[in-house]
Structures are given as C-alpha cells and as structure tokens.
C-alpha cells in the first residue's frame, strides 16, 4: 500500500474536482437556441404566395388522446404572430414545452397541418399534410417543415422535398408548386 502525504492527497483531490468540473461543462448539450430538450420541438413555417392576399396555418398536435391545436394567420394588414422568423411573407408555429409534455409518453403521435389561402374574399384549403411515424423518426429528430412555392433557384439552405399540396379548388390559382420541404 502506497502511503500518500497529506499535501499529495489534497493535490489529487483538486485534480479530481477539476476533471469533474471540466467534464460537466463539456458534456453539457450544445445550446442551439432551442434549449436542450429539442427532441419533440416542432417548427412549422408557411410562406405566402405572392398571388394571394392572406394565409392561415392551423396545426393539430395529437398524442394518443391528447389533442392540442395552434394557428397563425397572415394578412396584408396584420400578422397575429409576433414570431416572424425570416424576411419574407411567412408565419411560423412552434411547439416547444407543450410538445415535450404530450409526445414522449405517447405511442401514436401525429401532427396535422392545414393551410388556407385567401384571395378576393375567397378562402381555399390545401390538402391536409400529416406528419406521422412514416415521415418522422419521433424522438430523434427535431421536426422542421417549411411550406413554400418551390423554385429551387430562390431557396437556400438544406432541405428535401416531401410532397406537393396544391389545392383542389383552383379559384385562387393552381399552386402546383406549393411544396412541403423537410429541413434536416
């Protein structure tokens, strides 16, 4: 058995505490602005086509029997959301703590997105886009989708095209390129 002097013991303890302190700081999850509980956070943004006057996005979050909904509208006069993420005509809905509450313990998570356009006092609905297990690996990915008219020359950043959701009612326009883009 090696006998250590009191001063050596103190030195070793200090080293051990320093190592623990450093480890704790380095093991801290990187704060990316979404907090450290980002697994079930969702960010959904819809971009208004130039040819429509207004737009609404309505999102229903469903976890087994728990249902929670949120919506945002864009009009030329006002935008009822404070959070406008970018410099364009868009509205964004974020689900943070609420989604963290309802999704982790649930087995049947589903998010439904309904978007409507307004033009000349008409309101047309786009097909409902459903985010479920077939699209998202729940719990591993932050859920980020963008709804926008696809013109690759005018969109920057990384994304994949999930699908197109043109409206059946074409009285405001066909919007065949209105796409659902999934962000990594």
């Amino acid at each position: 058995m090696i006998k250590l002097s009191e001063s050596t013991k103190i030195l070793y303890r200090m080293l051990a505490f320093s190592w623990l302190a450093l480890c704790c700081t380095s093991c801290e999850p990187v704060d990316d602005g979404y907090g450290s509980y980002a697994y079930y956070w969702t960010t959904l943004c819809a971009y208004k086509p130039d040819s429509v006057d207004g737009m609404e996005i309505h999102v229903t979050y469903q976890a087994d029997n728990s249902v929670w909904a949120d919506s945002a509208t864009w009009t030329a006069k006002r935008n009822n959301r404070d959070y406008k993420s970018l410099d364009h005509d868009n509205v964004c809905l974020e689900c943070g703590d609420k989604c963290e509450d309802i999704f982790p313990s649930s087995k049947g998570n589903k998010i439904s997105v309904d978007i409507t356009f307004e033009c000349d006092d008409k309101t047309i609905a786009l097909p409902t886009f459903v985010i479920d297990k077939s699209i998202i690996n729940w719990g591993d990915d932050r859920i980020k989708f963008r709804f926008v008219e696809l013109d690759e020359r005018n969109i920057h950043g990384a994304y994949t095209v999930e699908t197109f959701i043109p409206p059946e009612d074409t009285s405001c326009g066909k919007f065949v390129n209105y796409a659902v883009l999934r962000l990594p």
Binding site: L86, L150, E152, R153, I155, H156, G157, A158, T160, K174
Partner: protein, 254 residues
C-alpha cells in the same frame, strides 16, 4: 658522357621552352548574379476565341413548367445556365527575370475584350432564353514561367519556347443581373508555345499560340446556409469552364 650531354640538352630545351611557351595563368573570373539572371520583359497583342459554360445541377430535380402549370420531374435538370461565345483582341505584358537564358519567371497582366453573345437561362427546361450581344471585358493577371529549351544548343531551334501561367481573370459578372450567384472571377491556367527571332541586341520578335482554361465557383457573397427565401448560393456549379484559344504577336526584351 653521351648520356650526360643528352641530359643537359634536354634540360636546356625544357628551360627555353618554359620561357617562351608559358602564358600567364588567367585570373579566375568572379561571377555575379547578373551573369545568370537577366531582366525579362514581354508584350503580346493578338486575337482569341473564347467559350464559357456555367450551370448548376438541380438538387430537387423538380421543375415548374409555367406554360402547362404543372410540376415536372427531370433527372437532368440544371439551373442558372450561362454561356458565352465570342472572339476578339487581347493584349498582355509579362515582367520578370530570366535565368541562364533558358528559363523566365514573370508576372502576367493583360486584358481581353471579346465580342460575342451571352446566353442566360434560368432552368434547362425553360423555352425562354435571354441573349446579350456585345463586348465583355476580361482583365487578368497571374504568374508564369517560360522555357527556351534550345538556346545555345541547337541554333536552328534557338527561338522556340513553351510556357505556362496560373491566371485569375475577371468576368463582367453580368449573370448577377439575372439572379445568378456565380463569382465574378475565374481561376485557371494558360499554356503557350511559340518562336522568337532575334532582331537586334536584346530584342526579339515572334509569334505565340496559347490556350487557357478557367473555372469559377459560387460567390462567397451568398454563402448563407440556413433555410430561407432568396438567391440559392449553397451548391457550387456543376459545370464551369472557360476555354480560350489565341494567337499573338510577341515582342521580348531579354
């Protein structure tokens, strides 16, 4: 006795020969840098033919056919397609040094202004194409080397040379007017070969054939990677090449 006499005659001959035939040993010349390095100056004026093609491969491969108003999936979809085809004059100056009359190192500085047509197309499936006709000005600079392999070896081939330069050339960036995000400079190399004839003293005149290849990339000015609406900067051009073929009258001082 005869042997002694013969020895005396030999020694006397050697002494006399040594007196009259010996030459003073020349002093060893001290070489200076200027014995190996000479100033090198060259001016060229000529004509060139230039073709440029730049395009970016689509990532999504989805194209909005606005005439039919429907989405089309195309594996060979490209966008931001620019091309230029033209010909025109150019001038160039080279300033540097020449080593042991065989190799020259220099800085290039030049200007070309070919006349031709620039074609702009947003997507490869577009029917619509924009065409601008006129001059484009292309200043360029670089560093290069030129080798005269037969100097002081084969007099017949004395004036033959080959050369290579690394060049940065500036295009007019007119594609920005069409929302394309390519950089306004291109980098590449230039190869040349020719023959010089001595006119007088250090002056030579000759002819040079040259070939150059340049390429450009996406401008750093659009280097945002976060998702957003705006010009698409994230993907480099799939194809970017400028080919130049020219011939010039060359005057060299070396």
């Amino acid at each position: 006795m005869i042997r002694v006499l013969f020895l005396v005659i030999c020694l006397a001959s050697a002494a006399i020969g040594g007196v009259y035939d010996s030459k003073p040993i020349p002093k060893r010349k001290r070489h200076t840098v200027t014995d190996f390095i000479y100033p090198y100056f060259e001016v060229m004026a000529g004509v060139e033919k230039i073709t440029t093609k730049i395009k970016t491969e689509s990532y999504t491969h989805w194209y909005h056919d606005k005439k039919l108003d429907e989405m089309v999936y195309d594996e060979d979809l490209y966008y931001d397609i620019y091309s230029f085809n033209g010909a025109g004059p150019n001038i160039e100056a080279k300033l540097g040094v020449q080593l042991i009359k065989h190799v020259a190192f220099f800085l290039n500085l030049g200007l070309a202004w070919p006349i031709g047509s620039s074609h702009y197309k947003y997507y490869s499936l577009d029917k619509e194409e924009y065409i601008d006709r006129g001059y484009i000005y292309q200043p360029f600079f670089g560093v290069g080397t030129k080798v005269y392999p037969f100097v002081q070896w084969l007099p017949v081939l004395d004036g033959i040379f080959i050369g290579a330069s690394l060049i940065r050339t500036y295009a007019n960036g007119s594609w920005e007017d069409y929302g394309m995000t390519y950089d306004n400079h291109e980098d590449g190399y230039k190869l040349e070969a020719g023959h010089l004839w001595n006119i007088t003293g250090h002056y030579f005149i000759g002819i040079t054939a040259n070939m150059a290849s340049y390429s450009c990339s996406t401008s750093d000015a659009y280097s945002h990677n976060a998702f957003g609406i705006g010009q698409n900067p994230t993907r480099p051009p799939d194809e970017s090449k400028t080919k130049v073929y020219g011939i010039s009258l060359t005057v060299v001082f070396k």
